[in-house]
Symmetry: C2
Subunit: 379 residues, 2 copies
């Protein structure tokens, strides 16, 4: 095996597959990066068994400056090989593997020899037998991930809640996540209806990595499903994730359909006030802030308190406030996560009572995006 | 006590004294920030007993927007108070202390009440009785600190070596540090001769904090000494540090006066090569790289090696190479630190033998700045 390549182009691909490579794996070869060099391209593979990423550097793209003298394959320590490649002195580098599994890496006057492993010992990627392909606009999909994944559980005691539940029915695509204290749900209407219905739970960790790979230029993401795997295609990159097995709880009945008190406020303004109140709640044992609503006086006040440190009180600049008076307490960190997902929008909060979950929706579109938070009993 | 002030101006002063405040102190009041409010200014104090910083926010500077309604003093939890002040909604804030030691902080609609402590319980700052004042240009002094402090020891077994040794004799100002594996020495000729001679050891940690406070606009730093304390004045800020007690070893005899082999090379080019070689040495137990010099062949080669991972070899682009052939091994991290202190300069390395210390000096000024590194025996 021998090839010369532009170092920056190579590093870009290396970084992509490195997302899937863990140094903590119990399978030693998976700490490695697999390189398969053909006459005209290099295929990079990384995997931690939960996630696998495969990407291709193409010789027909002139920027890659790829010239292959001899095809071949090798597995090289990902961490170590990346550090070397990033520190080489010249714009291009040459990698040669002769007998054994020793790789020679040269660039300018620097010559590294590093020990590799037989690529034949590298696990095979999952096979995706499904043929139904769903197309999603990259920026929309990334937004769906980022606004729902905040609500997944990080407790392994109920593994099913560590994933986001996706359902696809005709042109209706829905994502929902809950850790049983809060819930986030997004609905999107796809431009084209899917041929089959789908119902899958994708691990939150996989989705976080996937969303980081979706570029600002928002290329389309193609999704294909098999029984226990999902494959996302992003241009020349394939992203595989295992699916979580089991039945996701029925979340539709958790979302209240009526409310007694409503409040409208710009999300950033409420976020700043909650951040201030949580400075104090974080110092107390039960991390709770209190909100009192008095519609007649048009007064919404947030309270934070820590016996050791002190207290904070702030009147919110609400746009509208209507319905019954209410005093409700909750974990401010849940509300902060939820508020960040609304960006600069104005939002509407709907409350039923002090012990029932309350909801947040964008004022302009209350049907397709909802965040729900369960209050905390303080009496 | 009651005053209103521009929040950003206040935060700047807060950040300055916060450098001296540790959350790990065993004296509870020292986790606090002391504020003394007079009719026309606020004096901020922070201390961890090793370092103390005092700075003044002046009402006669219009940018501070300071209006004092009632003078007074208080100690407030530094960490917590900083977080609050940074998150307040408006450009100004008002702080009120009524009876007891509770402080009221208001800005816009946000109102915090936090518990403080009696400022009378705060330790007094050291008294500096010396009257001899040394003036140093800020940028020069910062450079002296940053290039010598790299060589201080972080082993408490020989506390004296955790400091930088400063001597002042007439107009000759010298700083030297060594951890017994390497040494860094700077000499500067002052524009004015000092009246007294001085010989002090300042803790490396104090100097690191001090150098961070010397701004790019390189104001003068005034230094005053007493028996066990040093005071640096930077504009409106006073920086106190304790001195280390004891006799610093005589380092002058460590610096070789002759050499058998010399090499000249741009510092950045040698630094890159050493960084590459250390990628491998870091993976092996004894973190050593080898340099071979063959003047007749104009060949200087650096080798790094790790039995598990692999090896690297690189021919250096030397400018000059003269004298005996040599093979020498050393800790690359010491050489990296030393090389960084030379910036973009071309440097001259002088070697005596494989087991004797070698030196690095700028090619243009070999007398006033020297780095010395002790090699490692590998046979």
């Amino acid at each position: 095996m021998k090839f010369t390549v532009n170092r920056q182009q190579f590093i870009k691909k290396l970084n992509d597959v490195s997302r899937a490579i863990s140094t903590k794996t119990t399978i030693p070869i998976l700490t490695g990066l697999k390189l398969v060099v053909t006459d005209r391209e290099i295929i990079f593979t990384g995997s931690d068994t939960d996630i696998s990423i495969e990407t291709t550097l193409r010789g027909d793209d002139d920027a890659t400056e790829l010239t292959v003298e001899e095809p071949g394959q090798i597995v090289l320590s990902a961490r170590f090989f990346s550090e070397i490649v990033k520190r080489l002195p010249e714009a291009t580098m040459t990698i040669t593997v002769k007998e054994g599994f020793q790789a020679n890496i040269t660039s300018g006057a620097a010559a590294f020899t590093i020990n590799g492993l037989d690529a034949n010992g590298y696990p095979h990627l999952p096979e995706i037998d499904g043929t139904d392909e769903v197309n999603l606009a990259g920026d929309v999909f990334r937004d769906i991930i980022n606004t729902t994944v905040i609500a997944v559980s990080n407790q392994e005691s109920r593994p099913i809640l560590t994933g986001v539940h996706f359902t696809l029915n005709g042109d209706q695509f829905m994502a929902v996540a809950t850790d049983s204290h809060r819930l986030s749900q997004r609905k999107v209407t796809l431009p084209e209806a899917a041929a089959e219905t789908h119902d899958v739970i994708i691990p939150g960790k996989s989705l976080v990595e996937l969303s980081r790979m979706i570029n600002e230029d928002s290329q389309d993401v193609k999704m294909r499903l098999s029984e226990n795997q999902v494959l996302f295609m992003l241009g020349d990159t394939a992203f595989y994730s295992r699916l979580l097995e089991g039945n996701y709880p029925d979340t539709s009945r958790l979302i209240p359909s009526e409310s007694e008190t409503t409040m409208e406020i710009p999300a950033p303004s409420l976020l700043s006030a909650i951040e201030r109140a949580s400075l104090l709640s974080h110092e107390s044992r039960n991390n709770v802030v209190k909100l009192t609503l008095k519609a007649n006086e048009h007064l919404a006040t947030i309270f934070g308190n820590s016996p050791d440190v002190g207290a904070v009180e702030e009147n919110l600049s609400v746009v509208t406030l209507a319905g019954n008076d209410l005093e409700i307490s909750f974990n401010p960190d849940y509300l902060k996560d939820a508020l960040r997902s609304f960006g600069q929008s104005q939002i509407k909060l709907s409350f039923t009572s002090a012990l029932r979950p309350f909801t947040l929706v964008p004022s302009e579109d209350g049907d397709n995006f909802i965040q729900l938070i369960t209050p905390v009993r303080t009496f």
